[in-house]
Amino acid sequence: MIEVKNINKKFGDRAILSSASVLFEQGKINLIIGESGSGKTTLMKCMVGLENVNKGEVLYDGRNFIAMDDREKKAIRKEIGMLFQGGALFDSLTAEENVTFPMTMFSDMSAEEKRERAQFCLQRVNLPNAGKLHPSELSGGMKKRVGIARAIAMGPRYLFCDEPNSGLDPRTSILIDNLIKEITYELNITTIIITHDMNSAIEIGDNIVFIYNGTIWWRGPKEEILKTENPEINAFVYASEFMKKIKKTFS
């Protein structure tokens, strides 16, 4: 479980997040949605410590990440897996080496054990034969799957995904969504996903957080977001013709 309490973040004089408070439940897929520039990525970066907050707390199962020293933060980060928008795979390493990388840095596993674990993770993301390929030889969807394999390699307790569907075709998007969903339930981890994709939100989200102008505008189960009459949420959720038709059909 991750709890964010009154997070404030400014870039210069511009407030990006204002008193943002939200709870992300364990064993569930928590989605953060909102318009571009609303503060979603900043919130995630503040949660994992890639951005410093001006005020507030981030509690990882009760442990305040913001108040920790560097050593304690490092320990928490070993419990975090993150899938970046572009995969963020290390260009100089093969897919298998990318997956074994955190094990090389933080475990005393033998080369054989690391290879086995990497193979297991790559198989888990349906890429059993991609181990020897470099990131430049992988498609966008494959890169994201290797990114997921790397994120789960050390058995994380918290999984962060920054727009896992961006730039992918609908079929690959569903594949990635399902993969994240399965992994979340299988490992009983706290998963937080930033997305713009309402299909994905409806498909896999357990809880949805809507950010508007740097504030947590709405939070609730996915079924509720389709029924709410809040104009800001409706403008976002039913922006596409497809979603408008769905609303029409159901109403």
Binding site: G49, I76, K78, I80, M82, G86, A88, D91
Partner: protein
């Protein structure tokens, strides 16, 4: 003010770079890779530039020493002193600032804009230490070898050009490069080399590490890395020369 901001941020980065590594074995492997990339990767340009510059310096020295009062072996002395004291440690370092510095800045800058640096941080790895420390140590280790090689090749180029063009005899040139030779010249050159190696890698890494944006900013960082490394090398060249030779 901007200058102080960068200076402060540079030293904060250096403090992070020199923190205790997470795993020595990994850093050792990275060090060997960097020796290969920085050292062996620069071998070609250092050899070519040194040979030709040595040749040109010798011919120019001979061209300028027209007075019958100047002995012929002075061509060797001039070539030796120019190469050992200035050309090899400073000019070759400036060339390496262009080659190695831009490479380091663009490599780390690209890693920054493609979130690979963030990925390292998320894993709990000291990204600055992991990326920069092996480069600094490798450069400090390998640059002196490159400069010694550069000195040898420069003198060889001078010898070949001088003898082949007939401006100096083989005996006079060899006599000249041995004449009143001060071994401290080599020490001085190597001290400068080590300092310049540190400047090239750390300044370039600083610009790469603080890249934000996209491909355009990576290019800008790369250019800044070369420009600032070169200026700082020239500044330290004066300071070190004053400290060591005066």
């Amino acid at each position: 003010m901007n200058w102080f901001f960068h200076l402060g941020r540079y030293f904060i980065l250096l403090r992070k770079v020199f923190r205790k590594p997470e795993k020595f074995v990994v850093y050792r492997t990275r060090f060997i890779e960097e020796v290969d990339s920085i050292g062996l990767g620069s071998l070609g340009i250092v050899c070519i530039v040194s040979l030709f510059m040595g040749a040109v310096l010798t011919i120019q020295a001979a061209f300028n020493f027209t007075s019958p009062w100047v002995p012929l072996y002075a061509v060797g002395v001039a070539a030796r002193d120019t190469l050992v004291l200035e050309f090899c440690p400073t000019i070759v370092s400036l060339i390496l600032a262009g080659k190695v510095g831009s490479n380091i800045a663009s490599e780390i800058g690209t890693m920054r804009v493609t979130e690979q640096v963030d990925a390292l941080e998320i894993m709990g790895i000291n990204s600055s230490g992991y990326l920069i420390l092996p480069k600094i140590i490798a450069a400090i280790f390998v640059h002196p070898f490159l400069i010694i090689l550069s000195m040898f090749l420069g003198l060889l180029g001078g010898y070949v050009a001088g003898v082949a063009s007939g401006v100096v005899t083989s005996y006079k040139f060899i006599y000249g490069i041995q004449y009143q030779f001060l071994p401290f010249s080599i020490t001085y050159a190597l001290i400068k080399t080590v300092v310049f190696a540190f400047i090239i890698t750390s300044v370039s890494a600083y610009h790469g590490y603080n890249t934000h944006g996209g491909a355009l900013e990576v290019g800008r960082s790369s250019t800044k890395a070369v420009v600032y490394s070169s200026i700082i090398i020239l500044l330290f060249n004066v300071i070190l020369t004053q400290l060591l030779l005066s």
